[in-house]
């Protein structure tokens, strides 16, 4: 056997290899067994920041305003007064705003950005800032009493609105007429029902930095205020609270301010506000028998699971 005989054998072997691993895959569109080539990362996704939220145009200071005077009995028995001015443009804009029947979003009414400066100003006047922490409860109660003493009126009563007629966006639900008012509307109308009082009180307390929630019963709405171990020695009742996300929210009534004559011979009346946590003396049966649904003023979609777990990489060079 000569070398000239060996060459064709080797050439044949090479041809077989080339045909098997290059020509055939090329014709059949198969991947070569040399491994997938790295994909060139040319356009990896990038984070696109969201558009900023549009900020509302402030109402002009010199525009027409509704001026409302309030008079209420404070916790010390003294009578207090204050005046609230609300831009007419704000009031009319809110009157023209459609309402949402889902009570889960009613906290947004309490936190309306346009109402915020009005509520902050009013809250400061009802409870002026003090350096004495002992006065915290008294200040809180003064604000609660202020709201409780705003006259109650149902949503289906035209007298509940300054126009003397139902607003265009009242909702006709199975349970009856419903119209949750913005705090500014409640102040201009000077009256409202339970959810209006809870919304106004929630807005005022939030402006003072208190953590509050709406408490919804089958036929009533009240407010819950977060407190730690509220159990005043002088209370003749066990303060009612409800737990939400590990926090205690004590019941606060926004309406149902009981009024009674001072004596039989006079028309003068005296009010009896409801202190924090007192559900025993509330005349509404559902408050005494039901556990309310807790609705936070602020709702944010926050997932429980959000931790991305780093994965181990394959050891390079193995195969």
């Amino acid at each position: 056997m000569e070398w000239k005989d060996v060459v064709p054998v080797l050439a044949g072997a090479i041809i077989i290899l080339v045909v098997a691993f290059v020509v055939k895959p090329a014709f059949l569109g198969e991947q070569t067994p040399s491994g997938s080539e790295p994909v060139v990362v040319r356009n990896p996704p990038v984070y696109v920041p969201p558009d900023p939220v549009a900020t509302p145009t402030p109402y002009p200071d010199d525009g027409p305003v509704y001026t409302r005077s309030f008079r209420w009995t404070a916790i010390d028995g003294g009578v207090q007064t204050t005046v609230v001015r609300i831009p007419e443009a704000l009031f009319h804009e809110q009157r023209e705003t459609p309402r949402l029947s889902d009570y889960h979003i009613w906290g947004r009414y309490a936190l309306a950005d346009a109402d915020r400066p009005i509520l902050e100003d009013l809250a400061r006047r009802i409870v002026p800032p003090t350096a004495n922490p002992e006065e915290g409860y008294l200040r809180l109660m003064n604000l609660v009493f202020f709201v409780q003493q705003i006259p109650y009126d149902t949503d289906d009563n035209a007298a509940s609105y300054i126009e003397g007629a139902l607003p265009p966006h009242v909702m006709y639900l199975k349970s009856g007429v419903e119209y949750p008012k913005y705090p500014a509307e409640m102040l201009v109308d000077g009256r409202g029902d339970c959810e209006d009082a809870a919304i106004l009180m929630g807005g005022l307390l939030d402006a003072l930095g208190y953590d509050t929630v709406l408490l919804r019963y089958s036929d009533h709405m009240a407010l819950g205020i977060r407190m730690n171990e509220f159990n005043p020695y002088y209370a003749a009742y066990s303060p009612s609270y409800f737990e939400y996300k590990g926090k205690h929210y004590y019941y606060v009534e926004g309406t149902d301010f009981e009024v009674e004559n001072v004596s039989e011979n006079t028309t003068a009346v005296i009010g009896r506000p409801y202190p924090i946590g007192n559900t025993r003396d509330i005349s509404i049966p559902s408050v005494r028998t039901e556990t309310p649904e807790i609705i936070p003023l602020r709702y944010l979609p926050i997932p429980k699971e959000h931790y991305i777990r780093p994965a181990r990489l394959p050891v390079a060079g193995e195969g």
């Binding site: 056997m1 005989d5 060996v6 054998v9 080797l10 072997a13 290899l17 691993f21 991947q31 067994p33 040399s34 491994g35 997938s36 080539e37 790295p38 994909v39 990362v41 990896p44 996704p45 990038v46 984070y47 696109v48 920041p49 969201p50 558009d51 900023p52 939220v53 889902d102 889960h104 979003i105 947004r108 936190l111 309306a112 950005d113 915020r116 939030d206 930095g209 953590d211 602020r298 709702y299 944010l300 979609p301 926050i302 997932p303 429980k304 699971e305 959000h306 931790y307 991305i308 777990r309 780093p310 994965a311 181990r312 990489l313 394959p314 050891v315 390079a316 060079g317 193995e318 195969g319």
Partner: protein
């Protein structure tokens, strides 16, 4: 019928040459050995290369997921107790933007890693990692739906979407666990272990 004789045909004589015969057999054996050895080298190189490419793609995916994770952690650590309504809305918009980013990143790397050809031992790891990316992608899609529901003021729908997102996220965690188990199994299967200097198991982003 008698066959006519074939006149003049002679069977050629083969002169046996032992040396040439050995040479011929030797050439054939060498050629076969060359083929087998070459093929083995070729396959071995190919598989190493496949694992390297797979590793690079996982590393790229983990690096990008690390970026997503940093944004999520920063977002989730925002104090939300006293946000104004406008700030709440901005918060949710950022949440939606992160969800979109997460979806894009997971879809992108899913496509790349799915196109990888890996050695048979790594097929399970590849499938598990793709499953993890798919679950993460679904979770981000639910985040996006929750943000949209918030914009529509449908908080109940937002909560439902978040619950489904949490479920998908837990599936993602399970799939990552599967991936690591598959990877360990593939590496323990006794394939040649020759780590490149500077790399070590357990590296992640």
């Amino acid at each position: 019928m008698a066959l006519p004789a074939l006149p003049g045909i002679k069977i050629p004589k083969i002169a046996p040459d032992r040396k040439k015969a050995f040479l011929a057999v030797g050439v054939v054996i060498v050629a076969m050995l060359l083929l087998v050895f070459g093929w083995t080298l070729f396959v071995s190189y190919s598989e190493e290369r496949q694992v390297e490419v797979f590793r690079d793609h996982i590393a790229a995916s983990e690096a990008d997921l690390g970026q997503v994770s940093a944004r999520i952690i920063a977002h989730m650590s925002t104090t939300i107790d006293d946000l104004s309504l406008a700030e709440c809305d901005a918060y949710v918009r950022e949440f939606a933007a992160i969800a979109s980013y997460g979806r894009a990143v997971t879809a992108y790397h899913q496509q790349i890693i799915a196109a990888d050809t890996v050695p048979e031992a790594y097929v399970g790891a590849q499938a598990a990692y793709l499953r993890a990316l798919d679950n993460l992608n679904r979770a981000f899609a639910f985040w996006l739906s929750a943000a949209t529901a918030y914009e529509m003021r449908d908080y109940a729908a937002a909560e439902q979407n978040l619950a489904r997102a949490d479920e998908a996220w837990r599936d993602y965690i399970t799939a990552i666990g599967d991936y690591e188990a598959e990877l360990r199994a593939a590496e323990e299967r006794g394939e040649v272990a020759s780590p490149i200097p500077g790399t070590s198991p357990g590296q992640g982003s």
